[in-house]
């Protein structure tokens, strides 16, 4: 089932969340990447990063606590060794970026905006541990707007900016309004929640444990953006595992959902959820994606 996101036409409203689909081939071992609305890369930085030392993960009830330290080959390595494969695979590629400064973000956007095959750029404004990851700490919603504007300015028409926000119920609505004004084509709500590993190091919490919180944030953001009469779309992200979860996010006003850590548990999750929606012929579809999540779960 097709959907539209920030002016892009997507094959499905089911997306692969940043950092949860590997570099591409790992997920493609279980089915073609073209089946997903987008394949969003892990967050790419200007310089290569080896990732964090020590235990990177811990399990928590219905959740996963993680501090991977953004391992990535840097923009040059990514463009040379990972992007070509992704484009070839037929995936709709969204490149997630994160930086130490607005200047770095702008530089990343400049490089990506010139590269064919990049459908959109997602700014990761939701890093749960910016300080230990050495990325720009954006405490105030106004700072988020500055980051979005810095990236949007560098991208050609037709390559939208997606702003990924923390599912922080206190600030997410204000943040969404500000990034919308700054030129975001869509907001992704949300990233991993700030948490700690058992040894106390800062980390993110993902998984079904955070779904109810993400849902609350998605609903409030969707309402606020509608009231503000913007064209900015909302992507729901956080703990999506089942068709019921997809329906809940779409009902809350999201045009698409991103599947993250569920892929770790079952790498076919997103493909299955996408297929549930694809079974409805596009021309008879109409209505919102939520109307078409049928099956016994309905």
């Amino acid at each position: 089932m097709r959907t539209s996101l920030a002016g892009l036409t997507l094959a499905s409203p089911v997306l692969v969340a940043s950092g949860c689909g590997g570099t591409g081939p790992e997920l493609a071992a279980f089915g073609p990447l073209s089946a997903y609305g987008t394949f969003t890369t892990r967050s790419i930085t200007l310089d290569p990063r080896p990732g964090a030392a020590g235990p990177r993960l811990a399990e928590s009830p219905s959740g996963l606590v993680h501090a991977t330290g953004l391992p990535n080959p840097g923009i040059d390595g990514f463009l040379a060794t990972e992007l070509p494969w992704l484009v070839q695979s037929g995936a709709k590629v969204v490149v997630s970026v994160v930086g130490r400064s607005l200047g770095e973000l702008a530089e990343l956007a400049r490089r990506l905006g010139r590269t064919p095959g990049v459908a959109a750029v997602e700014i990761n404004l939701a890093t749960p541990d910016p300080v230990s990851n050495g990325v720009l700490e954006l405490r105030e919603p106004q700072h988020l707007g500055g980051a979005v504007a810095a990236v949007a300015r560098e991208l050609p028409r037709g390559v939208p900016v997606l702003a990924k926000l923390r599912a922080d119920p206190v600030r997410v609505v204000e943040s969404a309004r500000i990034v919308a004004e700054a030129g975001a084509g869509a907001v992704v709500v949300g990233g991993a929640l700030p948490a700690a590993l058992p040894d106390g190091r800062p980390a993110g919490l993902s998984g079904p444990a955070i779904a109810p919180l993400a849902l609350r944030c998605v609903r409030e953001v969707a309402l606020a953006l509608r009231e503000a009469d913007t064209e900015v779309d909302v992507v729901g992200c956080g703990g999506v595992h089942t068709g019921g979860d997809v329906r809940a996010f779409l009902d809350a006003g999201a045009v698409a959902v991103a599947v993250g850590s569920a892929l770790f548990h079952d790498p076919t999750t997103a493909a299955r959820l996408a297929a549930e929606l694809t079974d409805i012929p596009a021309d008879t579809a109409g209505g919102t994606p939520a109307d078409h999540l049928g099956g016994e779960e309905r």
Binding site: G22, E26, P50, G51, L57, E59, P208, F264, H265
Partner: protein
């Protein structure tokens, strides 16, 4: 392609300290090569209470009960996940993915080889011994464990190995001691050109060093990092970072589940684990 399936338990048998599970897992057994593993979900299919998957070596692949390629796992009940898996009964369903990881590389020539396995980690060496035997490689085997109950059956290996050394910590069977005490001698006697090892990190480090001293290649099947989950086991989550020596001697991290779990012993930075 790798398969993600709801496998059915066909048989479960207790041998010593371990539970041997035979599963019907379409697509997993067919593509198996020694050294590859399966990732198991803990809990009823569809339940998402425990997100991290548990990796288990594929021990044997055999035709059984009308199925062409059933998969056998050897489970040592330790924590919650392995206990749950070990208590599955015939007919139960288990969500699993496989075969995963980089398997053992086989020598092109029929050279003598030494296989060294410790405790339950020795599981992938048994099908490897069969493959090596088929290639006319003379196979010697060192099996070690804490005690007899934790020793994977040496009887099974009698058919494939020409020499077997058994060593237990408490001396309940074989010589009393640890694998590192006997491996140099086993290398000398077998004159192995390749050593294949599976076990705890400290054991693998000692075996890799002994192989290097002897002038042999080593291939080690690692279960590191072992102080945290390998959450996805499929290369997606970047969790199982393993310190290695890259090309030109530069230190780097690889994903143990994808670039391993079998690696060259001289490539692993054992001191940094």
């Amino acid at each position: 392609m790798k398969a993600h399936v709801r496998a059915e338990v066909l048989a479960s048998k207790r041998i010593g300290a371990y539970q041997h599970l035979t599963l019907v897992a379409p697509g997993v057994g067919e593509r198996f090569r020694p050294g590859s593993f399966a990732a198991v979900s803990v809990g009823p299919a569809g339940e998402r209470a425990r997100l991290a998957r548990r990796p288990f070596w594929i021990h044997q692949v055999r035709p059984l009960g009308g199925y062409a390629a059933t998969v056998q796992l050897v489970v040592e009940p330790r924590g919650e996940g392995s206990r749950w898996l070990a208590s599955r009964q015939r007919g139960d369903r288990v969500e699993m993915t496989g075969p995963l990881g980089r398997p053992f590389a086989l020598p092109k020539e029929p050279v003598p080889v030494l296989l060294v396995g410790e405790g339950v980690s020795a599981a992938p060496l048994f099908p490897l011994a069969e493959r090596l035997r088929e290639r006319d490689c003379p196979v010697s085997l060192v099996l070690g464990a804490d005690d007899e109950a934790h020793l994977l059956s040496a009887l099974e290996a009698r058919r494939t190995a020409r020499a077997i050394t058994v060593v237990t910590h408490d001396g309940s069977v074989g010589a009393r001691g640890r694998i590192p005490d006997v491996v140099a001698e086993a290398l000398r006697r077998s004159d192995a050109a390749v050593v294949y090892a599976a076990g705890r990190a400290a054991t693998l480090a000692a075996v890799a060093q002994a192989a290097e001293d002897h002038g042999a290649w080593s291939q080690v099947a690692v279960e590191e990092p072992s102080d945290q989950p390998w959450a996805c086991c499929t290369g997606l989550c970047q969790g199982c970072a393993l310190p290695v020596v890259g090309e030109h001697g530069a230190p780097r991290e690889v994903r143990a589940c994808l670039d391993g779990p079998v690696l060259r012993g001289d490539r692993v930075r054992w001191a940094d684990l």
